[in-house]
Amino acid sequence: MLNYIWMGMILIAVVVGTLTGRIDQVTQAAIDMAKLSVEIAIGLVGIMALWLGIMKIAEASGLIRIIAKLLRPITIRLFPDVPDDHPAIGSIVLNMSANMLGLGNAATPLGLKAMEELQELNPDKKTASNAMVMFLAINTSSVQLILPATVVALMGIVSSQIFITTILATLCSTIAAIVIVKVLEKTKWFALAPATEGAASGDEARSPDDGEGGDR
């Protein structure tokens, strides 16, 4: 999927850029964005270190486990493949809380930690697991209780009006995300099973996430 989107975006950019005479800007954007990517990543180092350090303490003290247990009734429906009290649940919950509170800086390190823990459970390290896709879909549709500081700065007093609409809109998109992920993960285009090609060899890899399976 990403292969096609990536190629498609670049192709469209070059074709449209040529037609509109903006090919120089396209070239410049490619160079600027490559530079910017490294700046973003390096800028993350310190914040990542800070939150990963705090997270390690939370883990060592058993806090993550407690949080994971408390929210198990919800998370078991969203992530049926992740075992009870696995640290991934704790990290996922903390990432979501950080997102809800508008703590973008804290959310990314916590989310990457969650991905790492989900990857431990993932039988095929190159392919996204159901739990990963669900986590990302909820994450990108971002339930938000606190408006981003940038929005408050821009909108001034009007911020309090859009507070309610923002929460409701984010609720709609999050519900849509959960439903569409659950629907799509079973369709033949996206299902994990190698059933479409080489069905015979795929059996052993199949069992762990077969819907109503035994790990509840």
Binding site: M48, I54, L103, K126, I146, S160, T166, A169, T170, A176
Partner: protein, 182 residues
């Protein structure tokens, strides 16, 4: 009432980070005798490796998004979609932001700033724009960084699901604002 409630929440938000940085180690040390300093350093060590690991994925996605933005393809898409949008009552002024939101955080913030400058913060266009901005994330950036950090190549249904949720978010932002703030 709503105003004081939001103000209260935003006020509270200022204390969340300090409370976490202070509260978690305190609990660990007092209740579980964790060697907080050593454990912190142990965890912080991974910060660099993870940040560096996502660089190639970030470059790939951000370069493609940047080229797409610079080419003016968004405007072309806008013209193509215009008849459909008029049909469902989606304000055309808000479409660039809706299309930009999943691609670029800074780009969509720029568009929101334009809306506020052009129509004023109190206008319906700005309110819809701010709701769209606040209720959604930069989907492509998040996908690239999160999958990149663990080396996942096949994203399966993550992209279509993310974009579908973004579309639902954008459309509900329009209708909610028109209905509640109209």
């Amino acid at each position: 009432m709503i105003e004081s409630f939001t103000d209260g929440l935003n006020e509270l938000a200022r204390y969340i980070i300090p409370a976490l940085i202070f509260g978690i180690p305190l609990y660990a040390m007092a209740a579980r005798r964790v060697k907080v300093y050593e454990v912190f350093v142990e965890g912080a060590k991974d910060g660099f490796t993870i940040a560096v690991r996502i660089i190639p994925y970030l470059v790939a996605i951000l370069v493609a998004v940047g080229m797409f933005r610079a080419s003016g393809a968004l405007e072309v898409l806008l013209n193509l979609l215009a008849p459909f949008l008029n049909f469902i009552g989606f304000p055309p002024e808000n479409l660039p932001l809706a299309l930009m939101r999943p691609l670029s955080g800074s780009g969509s913030l720029g568009l929101l700033t334009d809306l506020v400058n052009e129509y004023g913060a109190d206008s319906m266009q700005a309110k819809i724009g701010a709701t769209m901005f606040g209720s959604s994330e930069t989907t492509f950036y998040v996908l690239a960084v999160y999958f990149g950090s663990v080396g996942v190549m096949r994203s399966r249904h993550a992209v279509p699901a993310g974009l579908f949720a973004d579309a639902v978010g954008a459309i509900s932002a329009v209708y909610l604002c028109q209905w509640l703030l109209g």
